[in-house]
Symmetry: C2
Subunit: 428 residues, 2 copies
């Protein structure tokens, strides 16, 4: 196998017409068409393994995101199939010319994330392991090599990261075994889309509890009276012991967020998610101070580890919602997991969209085995759509993710999907 | 003229081989190829005016930036040539699907900025006025209509912005007249590129002082001993009364920045620019506290008004360096000027690159006439390259920008440049 090289990058502009059903509708995203700017890394290895990765978007602009991935082709062709992914990350993210397009944010950063994730999918397949296990078997030194500590050293140094990982080295095997038998806690967002009727909301809440979920999530932020009514319905349907998170999808300015959340307090919301702009670190901190003991959760639109660092420093979040396809892939998410561990903040990944559940389960499971060492107060989002397009879709049973065992990052879409849902510019 | 519509969007991937001379070399950008993702808005008006705009990049990836501009075409064709630019801004920036690609940052946000700036160029040409004057003749109500206060209201409300503009209404005419006779202060970065020899540095410093500049800027951050020597040479060549700014181009982590700048303090640097990641608001604030009375300046990579808001709230900068082509165009820069006025922080725009001097002069001059009402402690960057490619290039005389009087935003490149420097993907 050694000596195998990357020979081709295939890219696909994949779009699903989700706006037709209002699945995924929220206060900021009334009609998303869940999409993926998707790539496949091909090698000349006779093993035939390919690396799959993607950026998630919600429709228009997916062509630009796909073009950004394709623009990285000259950086990738001829690389070893078992490239040093710490080095590759640094090379792509710190490329002095590409960097200008962010830096470390937006379309180009997400494109790098898709490529890095595809390399990890390839690496895990070549190792014959699910990604979480490949990562969890690495030494603390190998893990730290994957992380770029630039701009982080005032919050966490490489030595501190090593100390955290070494402290967790004991018990890795037991935790991995527990994952296989017990899975990882999930919560469901499926009941709470803004476009659903009250009856549908009530029915889906009851079903969620029957299915074993201990937390659900409701979209809020369009109309306060509606939110009060919907939260009351959900609380009645779920009973007092189920955590109900609310998600404003960045709808509010800081003062409005505080007022609105206080108005929802009687129905005991557990966390409020994305109360304002994801760029507003100080705003999140002001909101968190004002609404305690209700918690703040954010992360799906946080562009990079540097903004997460500050959200932790400023106490702008109580739950860190990393996203598998927003930052520059697995490596940057390891940096984020280490930051969260340093600050003692639980990571509860953002998922849903296209394939995000498939990806983040590996990150949370690696976190459990090797970084935080805990599933306490941690939970992965689950949304029950579009999984049928994946070769190794997630399974959620009794309110828990079933731990994946197939080799890879669970990122590969089915061949038929890549054909059927390919978007052509003439589609408009 | 009324009833004219946008009929076509032409896009151009323009690249200049600046890496051959090391002009523009700094600690993070050793070999930039200054580039523009450029567009021309055509209308069916017999007046023949066209709107020109661009995003600035430094080479690789300029194709992706150009593709992002082209992707906006369906949003633009058929719009009135005199579109309501407040409404257009909101529509493009808050498009629920495109927004996912940022939000409000990176390639897609810069693409929207290029388009918005092209509409302003067109509007100014149709009005027969230089852009600064078109803006400065608007009423406070018209100006405020251009600004989106979303996510700003905890720092500045629409009412506060109106009050600032109304307070400055008196004296607008006198300030506009003074601009025409006296121009606007400039500083020069041309002596201080990292790739230049000590002799060239010394000679260029002396020339700058002889040319009437009262401030120069040196790139730093690659090697402390070199920086000490180069700053000493510059200080000797310029004498004690010239302000010498230093620019680290994001090279340092927070603790290193503080240590490094303190080591340069004996040669009296005026401000340190981009000491660390542009995303690190709290880091900038920590640096500013530690190095006072040396000032902190930043902005050229700040993605939007929300991050500027926090840099002001946290006192992370003493000089705000807006960039004409990083945020979403003129409208967002008006929001930023208003924020700076509210916090009493001088705006000293970033320029250089391709055409940035041409654009920012209009913003600073509008700021002087209608927003801050002052040129005190304010200065525009000047770099003496690539102006020959513009139809209305800037003129700097006796260390001051000569106020532009030609209609438009000074954003149009010469037709020959669009042909000669067009990049084709086969160029590699």
């Amino acid at each position: 196998m050694s000596g195998a090289r990357i020979t081709a990058i295939e890219t696909y502009d994949i779009r699903f017409p989700t706006s037709l059903q209002l699945d995924g509708s929220d206060a900021m995203n009334p009609d998303p068409d869940y999409s993926a700017a998707y790539l496949v890394l091909r090698t000349d290895d006779p093993d035939g393994h390919a690396g799959h990765g993607f950026a998630f978007t919600i429709g228009r602009g997916n062509d630009v995101q796909t073009a950004a991935i394709a623009a990285l082709t000259p950086y990738l062709i001829g690389r070893p199939a078992d490239a040093d992914l710490g080095e590759l990350w640094r090379e792509l993210v710190h490329d002095s010319q590409l960097r200008w397009l962010g830096p470390e944010k937006g379309v180009m950063h997400m494109a790098i994330g898709a490529v890095i994730n595809a390399f990890w999918d390839l690496a895990a397949k070549r190792a014959g392991l699910p990604l979480w296990q490949l990562l969890a078997r690495m030494s603390p030194e190998e893990i730290v090599h994957l992380v770029d500590f630039r701009y982080l050293s005032d919050a966490i140094t490489e030595a501190e990261a090593l100390a955290i990982l070494r402290e967790r080295s004991d018990g890795r095997r037991e935790r991995a075994a527990k994952l296989i038998t017990a899975g990882y806690p999930a919560y469901t967002t499926s009941p709470g889309w803004l476009g659903y009727s009250d009856d549908k909301l009530r029915r889906l809440c009851k079903e969620a509890v029957q299915q074993g979920f201990r937390q659900i999530k409701l979209k809020v932020g369009a109309d306060l009276d509606d939110d009060r009514r919907r939260l009351r319905i959900a609380r009645e349907a779920c009973g007092p012991d189920i955590r109900i998170a609310v998600d404003a999808n960045q709808r509010w300015d800081v003062p409005v967020a505080i007022e609105w959340i206080r108005a929802l307090a009687p129905w005991d919301p557990w966390w409020v998610e994305e109360p304002t702009s994801p760029d507003d670190i100080l705003g999140h901190a002001a909101i968190a101070r004002a609404i305690a003991p209700i918690k703040v959760a954010t992360g799906e639109h946080v562009p990079n580890r540097i903004v997460f660092k500050q959200l932790l420093q400023a106490r702008g979040l109580d739950y860190l919602q990393l996203d598998a396809a927003r930052v520059a892939g697995v490596n940057e998410n390891i940096a984020i997991l280490l930051l969260a561990a340093k600050f003692g903040v639980p990571v509860c990944p953002h998922a849903g969209g296209v394939g995000l559940c498939e990806l983040v389960q590996h990150l949370s499971m690696f976190d459990y085995v090797a970084v935080s060492g805990s599933m306490e107060d941690r939970i992965i989002e689950y949304v029950d759509h579009l999984h049928e397009h994946f070769v190794d879709p997630v399974t959620v049973r009794d309110g828990r993710y079933v731990t994946p065992t197939a080799p890879g990052f669970s990122s590969a879409m089915r061949a038929g999907t890549l054909t059927t849902f390919a978007h052509h510019s003439s589609d408009g």
